[in-house]
Symmetry: C2
Subunit: 244 residues, 2 copies
């Protein structure tokens, strides 16, 4: 069934106020007609069965739908902004891979200073990707922050990982298996990697420096590798707890 993300402000007693963009999407892109049903999601874990009517601007609310409780870990991805439009794909794939929050990061070697429209664009990509990958929760894409701001805003009571291409670090997979956690933050670097100063400041702030393997990953690929490992270990631990 087709899926549409709405805001709670659009919810009325027994119908949904559709924006012009949503009307276009449902009727022109998905080619739904009056009487056709779709799933409306609020991006926070709630979903409803809805039906298009003859009225273009509203859809009828039929029923609340129980969410499947597939648990995902709470993962903040702090990713240094790559060159060009590469962050679009990072947001899309990170959403598929189950990220909770995305913090665009401006590190010492980051070349890009994103415009305000970029943030709107990334949030829209996250919303679309969440619909496509059937996630109930849309990841939040936060304002770009500097590396210093990152170190100031992170909570020390959860694992904090800084991915680095240096060989002598333990592999992220090793750390995840040894210290399972349902909430963590992982930071990935820019083209050219972190500066030595950044790595040292992160260690002082409580970060564990980890490796993603022996090959050199681009700034757009490292986030996906990190999220894949985090999601997989979390699933593994959940399965074991359930006795599967």
């Amino acid at each position: 069934m087709q899926r549409l993300t709405i805001t709670s402000a659009q919810l009325q007693a027994n119908h949904i106020q559709l924006t012009l963009e949503q009307q276009h999407y449902l009727r022109r892109v998905l080619r739904l007609q009056a009487g056709d049903r779709f799933l409306a999601l609020d991006g926070r874990g709630q979903q409803w069965l809805a039906m298009l009517t003859d009225s273009a601007a509203t859809a009828q609310l039929l029923d609340a739908v129980a969410a499947e409780s597939v648990p995902l870990p709470q993962v903040v991805l702090a990713a240094a902004l790559p060159k060009g439009s590469g962050f679009d794909e990072v947001v899309r794939q990170a959403t598929e891979l189950g990220v909770t929050e995305i913090w665009p990061l401006i590190s010492d070697r980051t070349l890009l200073r994103p415009s305000a429209q970029k943030l709107t664009r990334w949030q829209r990509i996250a919303t679309e990707a969440a619909e496509q990958s059937e996630r109930l929760v849309v990841p939040v894409v936060d304002e770009p922050r500097s590396f210093k701001q990152l170190l100031q805003t992170t909570a020390a009571d959860q694992p904090l990982y800084l991915c680095s291409a240096r060989q002598q670090q333990p592999h992220l997979l090793t750390c995840l298996l040894e210290r399972p956690s349902a909430a963590l933050l992982v930071a990935t670097g820019p083209e050219g990697g972190w500066t030595t100063a950044e790595v040292n400041e992160a260690i002082a702030a409580g970060y564990q420096v980890v490796s993603l393997g022996s090959t050199v990953l681009r700034a757009v690929t490292a986030p996906l590798a990190a999220l894949t490992l985090i999601n997989a270990v979390y699933t593994l631990k959940s399965e074991r707890l359930k006795g599967v």
Copy 2:
């Protein structure tokens, strides 16, 4: 140091015959001049230190360079071709993540029938990505094959994994940890997934059907998740054997 992939036919006694494209790349793109050094790689694990001379068409061979022996598993990725140009990025990221061979796959639900130029393009992307990620071995991109051909050509003495979005399968990470292997094949499906017939044929041919987690991954993301897990578990096992 800058890296350039050459064929063994370009190697002479004490110099390298450069193609026009390579001359352009070294002098115009990388802006190297006579006297500047670069690494020449044959894509099969050998590398040499080389130097540009005043002659445009050749570079002087200075020395063979010992390869760092970072072991990677032998992984064949059989990936159903996604829509549009999505396979370009699959080839690029799979190369970064350490794949050995890439087999483009035409499954029942694959829409794309690639042209002959596509294969040349993918091989060039693999070569460039291997240089960027400092891999000594360039992955081979094979001719597109049908799903039936895949089942006929795979060796049964190594693990064969078919990734599927079905929830009830064991996670690939679980299988990799339980059955470590230095050589394996992993197949990822098209948009819309494998047909039931394909899954059944694969099981009959000795494939283990595995999950990549609870979220739904696109055809361009599933290969990267699978390769990330394979490379990470292999590194983990190697580190443990070395007592790290």
